[in-house]
């Protein structure tokens, strides 16, 4: 019987977020952390690990990506560069 799959996230150094690096099979959370250490941090790639069961992740559907992400495209007024301010106005 196959052991469950876990997604592995590594914090490369303090001050940065954990980032997805791959996955491992393990029977339980502790074994998953130990396997992740051996597989993904053999060269000081991290200072912290997260593991989460792959089947616990809900991902967005690529088929819905336009309805999810395209509405942001025509909202340029959300960016500071949308606003024209005269050159003589400083610190803004």
């Amino acid at each position: 019987m196959e052991m469950p799959l876990w997604e592995v996230f590594v914090r490369s150094k303090h001050g940065l977020s954990h980032r997805h690096v791959g996955s491992v099979h393990a029977a339980d959370p502790r074994m998953a952390v130990e396997a992740a250490r051996d597989v993904y941090t053999r060269r000081m790639e991290g200072v912290s690990l997260w593991v989460v069961r792959s089947d616990e992740i809900t991902a967005s559907d690529p088929g819905e990506s336009s309805s999810l992400f395209e509405p942001a495209e025509d909202k340029v007024y959300r960016h500071p560069t949308f606003y024209v301010v005269p050159d003589n106005i400083k610190h803004i």
């Binding site: 019987m1 491992v24 029977a27 339980d28």
Partner: protein, 326 residues
């Protein structure tokens, strides 16, 4: 990586859709990355599962010829290096299995395919490692050839495969350099050591050239794989590149490349080289290499002898979960 969801998605993707297919081809042609949940043609998925799992199997089987010398490494330094290299090979195999699993292949299926002989792995690992110098030659030549094969795959169209290759390439560089350094020590050592280094080069040179696969005119899926960006250079191009960079390295060691037809071609700016024995290649791929059967037997034995560990770990977790629920 999201394997569970993918298994369901696979069933619907079997019905090929012309519009989706055209959009897919356009994306890949524009060098965009394809990610696990994206729509992809069934043949693309199949090609990738085959290529990535073969690649993973090669990393796993590749541990065996090196493990042969682990207890007999000449110094503690060499032993620590070899141990680290073998651990890397296991890591490479696991990154790649994980990438293949995002396409819906299960780990158990892939393991079973390797053990039954249904899946192939790199022919190079069906040659024995007879002397310590073979370990140096493998790092220098085999990992050197692997780097040339793998560097272009860092830009392959399938995201998880490309990302695995980035990690692998970083680590392969250590493998090649430690191998060359080990060859330098032998080549500059006693007469016997130098003879041993030459003998290793003699035996691994041709198999290393075969690692790039059959000649372009006999490589049936090459064109489609190039179009899909799962292959970025042809076999012969990579082989030529390998010869051109490796011959000067052999000369610097004071060793002779075992090819009487090897000659610098000024007009081409490349080396001309002798004919490769492709009959040998196909025989070795079929598992008829000197140690093909031993390799698979070692894998199967390890898997079966350690089944109790996997079962115990699962039983322990089931007990823990039941206790938690109670």
């Amino acid at each position: 990586m999201y394997t569970v969801e993918l298994t369901k998605q696979n069933d619907t993707a079997v019905v090929e859709d012309a519009a989706k297919n055209a959009a897919f081809e356009a994306r890949v042609a524009a060098d965009e990355f394809v990610e696990p949940k994206d729509w992809m043609p069934a043949a693309y998925r199949k090609t990738l599962v085959r290529q990535i799992s073969q690649h993973a199997h090669s990393e796993i089987v590749g541990m065996l010829p090196e493990g042969n010398w682990l207890t007999r490494a000449p110094t503690l330094r060499r032993k620590a290096i070899l141990l680290a290299k073998i651990q890397d090979e296991a890591g490479h195999g696991l990154y790649l299995y994980a990438a293949a699993e995002t396409l819906g292949a299960s780990r158990d299926e892939m393991t079973e395919a390797l053990h039954s002989g249904a899946a192939k792995y790199s022919s190079i690992f069906n040659y024995p490692t007879l002397t310590w110098a073979d370990i140096g030659a493998i790092g220098w030549l085999v990992d050197g050839a692997a780097i040339l094969n793998q560097v272009p795959l860092q830009r392959t169209s399938y995201g998880p495969y490309a990302r695995a290759m980035v990690r692998i390439c970083k680590e392969e560089s250590f493998h090649q350099r430690q191998g060359y350094e080990s060859m330098m020590v032998l080549a500059n050592g006693t007469k016997e050591q130098k003879r041993m280094a030459q003998d290793a080069l003699n035996r691994f040179w041709w198999p290393a050239l075969m690692m790039f696969g059959p000649p372009d005119d006999n490589s049936p899926n090459s064109e489609r794989s190039m179009r899909w960006r799962v292959k970025r250079d042809t076999n012969d191009e990579l082989r030529q590149k390998f010869i051109d960079v490796t011959v000067p390295q052999a000369e610097a060691l004071g060793l002779t490349v075992p090819d009487p037809d090897l000659k610098w071609n000024e007009a081409r700016g490349s080396y001309d080289y002798g004919a490769i024995d492709w009959e040998e290649f196909y025989a070795v791929v079929r598992g008829e290499g000197p140690v093909g059967k031993d390799r698979i037997k070692a894998r199967v034995d390890a898997w079966e002898d350690n089944a109790w560990v996997r079962e115990a770990a699962m039983a322990h977790e089931a007990k823990r979960a039941a206790r938690k629920a109670a």
